[in-house]
Amino acid sequence: MVAPLLVFAIGNESRGDDALAPLLLRQLQSEHVSGQIEFIEDFQLQVEHVTDLQGRDAVLFIDADMSCTAPFQFSPISAAHDNSYTSHAMTPSALLHTYVQVYGTGAPPSFLLRIRGYGFELGENLSTEAASNLQQAAARVRAWLADIPATR
């Protein structure tokens, strides 16, 4: 049985603020044990992750973002042919677009939580500013999860 909600954290916890998404995922994981949510983390999005989107009612991608001006930004996203040339990684929107082309149906409703990060070097700890942003972002996700009724 596929869990109706998927929370997908993108990042590497050994690279400074790139740990934002995995850390938030673990917080959420400890709070939600009902089986309604599946939690997945990986270093980056890749094409095979379309198979993780199948059968979901909603999907939330979480990622650290240096270009995010606010502490965090939460927004719905849609499939987009964005010409991703970003090496071995895909954007969430490009993944949704791939989903449509692989399965021939619309991708599940999806959201992206970008959390402002500052440093991404190997071996760095989470920065103080990022830690603060993480708590603000966590509150927003909890509110979003609370608004989604249990559907199955």
Binding site: S67, T86, T91, T98, E121
Partner: protein, 497 residues
């Protein structure tokens, strides 16, 4: 061999040259920068691939207990974490003095061939097929994976599912999708259950069939563009790879074989536990990345190529029937031209993917996977070296551990570093063939990227942050004034500066 190195690596009067910078190289992991120095007549005089390689790993791992290394090293790279996981484990096997049990070795091999399968599928179907299927000068909007799915939906779907299958093999053998812990010093911490085996067995025949089809696609692409594929970025190089004791391809374990560009054997079945007697690393002032070379030949002449093209051409045979048959056809093709061509690497990569699929099928039928003897130990050593043939080529992990079980020294030579000089050579050839400095276009610059992508370099590891990978192409005149610029945004689109 053309003496392009002397011609192009160091220009006689670089102060009189214009500079074209490509930074970073798209669809290549991490950050790279290509510098082309043009003279007053718009001819290429100097070419250099600058790589901002990962640094700081030694500091990162120093002071950690040795048994943490196989897990910690996976944080280096989001593309081939399993290769680092296994190379570090092999080094730690030496530290604990272990001789692996059959179950431990076969579970590790299964994990490794899962990694080869998924990595090669990703590279061929999703990173290179846009170039190969649409052409190097085609519409940029098509030349990515989304374009491939639109135009060749069945091929693209097969790529997705091959990749997914390889990831499932890794999940089952390593225990988790990422940050797996399956391989430990002296063995593994779990076997493969009957249920897990049967789960993989139900799809493996399809994976072998699709891999075989992929070899056919790679061959067809070469046949259809014979002149281009024969000559694009092609150069002669010495080679380095692991081989089994009987000379067979073995991507998990073996002795080192080094051969000259003309086929002479420098050394064979070399014990890698003292690799430093055979391989040394040179430093150049213009690059952060080291340049390994065969010590006996010196830094100028001792550079070499690793990876699929080397492994397929330099092994004596492949020990699985379909892949070996494909290898023989590859070597015989057009008088052997594909086996010498940089773009022949894609074909060789698909032969290895087929070999990996066949190996997985064979291993899944081996009852040793369900064995209970998982770990062994022996006499404790202070130094450990692990070498493996990772998807992109030979990977060396070297550690020294003190009496408190803490790592005090670490040296890694990753595949991309081994291929450093080879990539420079390929770029130089392409620059001579295609860039004369008269016009700076995205299509033109993509030829250089196509040459680099043939090596599938992993230039940095696993930093993933949205909005962090812009590309800027800059043209400076003799006086250093910017006269032209192209920018590539994070979404892949180009715009004039």
């Amino acid at each position: 061999m053309t003496d392009i190195k002397n011609d192009l690596e160091t220009a006689a009067h670089p102060e009189n040259l214009r500079r074209v910078a490509i930074d970073p190289v798209s669809r290549v992991e991490g950050h790279g920068k290509v510098t082309l120095l043009l003279d007053e007549n718009d001819r290429i005089h100097q070419v250099r691939l600058h790589i901002v390689e990962f640094r700081g790993f030694e500091k990162f791992i120093q002071g950690r207990p040795y048994w943490e290394a196989p897990v910690m090293v996976q944080r280096l790279c989001g593309i081939c974490p399993v290769s680092h996981h296994l190379a570090a484990s092999k080094a730690m096997d030496m530290i604990v003095g272990a001789t692996l049990t059959p179950t431990a070795e076969k579970v590790r091999r299964l994990m490794h061939y899962g990694q080869i399968l998924q990595s090669h599928a990703l590279h061929f179907f999703h990173l290179c097929s846009p170039d190969l299927l649409f052409g190097f000068d085609s519409d940029v909007a098509k030349r990515n994976i989304v374009g491939v799915i639109g135009a060749y939906p069945e091929i693209a779907k097969q790529g997705v599912l091959l990749r997914k299958f390889g990831q499932e093999v890794i999940r089952i053998t390593a225990g988790k999708r990422v940050h797996g812990t399956g391989s430990i010093p002296g063995g593994v911490n779990k076997n493969v259950s009957i249920e897990e085996r049967d789960y993989l067995l139900k799809d493996i025949d399809q994976m072998v069939a699709w891999s075989s089809d992929a070899v056919g696609i790679a061959r067809k692409l070469f046949e259809q563009n014979l002149n281009l594929y024969n000559n694009f970025g092609t150069f002669k190089a010495h080679t380095l790879n692991l081989v089994r004791a009987d000379g067979a391809m073995d991507l998990y374990h073996g002795g080192l074989r080094a051969r000259s560009m003309d086929g002479e054997t420098f050394f064979d079945h070399y014990d890698y536990s003292h690799y430093w007697d055979a391989i040394f690393e040179d430093v150049k002032p213009w690059s952060y990345m080291k340049f390994p070379f065969l010590r006996a030949l010196g830094p100028e002449n001792g550079w070499y190529r690793v990876g699929p093209l080397t492994r397929v051409t330099q092994c004596d045979f492949i020990p699985t029937p379909l892949a070996n048959q494909a290898r023989m056809a590859f070597l015989a093709f057009n008088g052997g031209s594909a086996a010498k061509a940089t773009l022949g690497t894609h074909w060789a990569r698909m032969i290895e993917m087929l070999h990996a699929a066949e190996q997985i099928r064979d291993l899944l039928h081996d009852p040793d996977l369900q064995g209970d003897e998982l770990v062994s130990t022996g006499e404790r050593q202070e130094r450990g070296v692990g070498v493996i043939e990772a998807p992109r080529g030979t990977l060396i992990h070297h550690y020294k551990v003190d009496e408190h079980d803490q790592i005090v020294r670490c040296n890694l030579i990753v595949s991309t570093t081994h291929n450093n000089q080879s990539m420079n050579e390929a770029i130089r050839q392409v620059a001579r063939q295609y860039l004369d400095g008269k016009k700076l276009t995205e299509g033109l610059l993509n030829h250089i990227e196509v040459a680099i992508r043939a090596f599938d370099p992993c230039l940095s590891c696993a930093t993933h942050a949205l909005g962090k990978m812009p590309l800027e192409v800059e043209l400076l005149d003799v006086a250093g004034t910017r006269v032209d610029v192209l920018a590539r945004a994070a979404d892949g689109t180009f715009c004039a500066g």
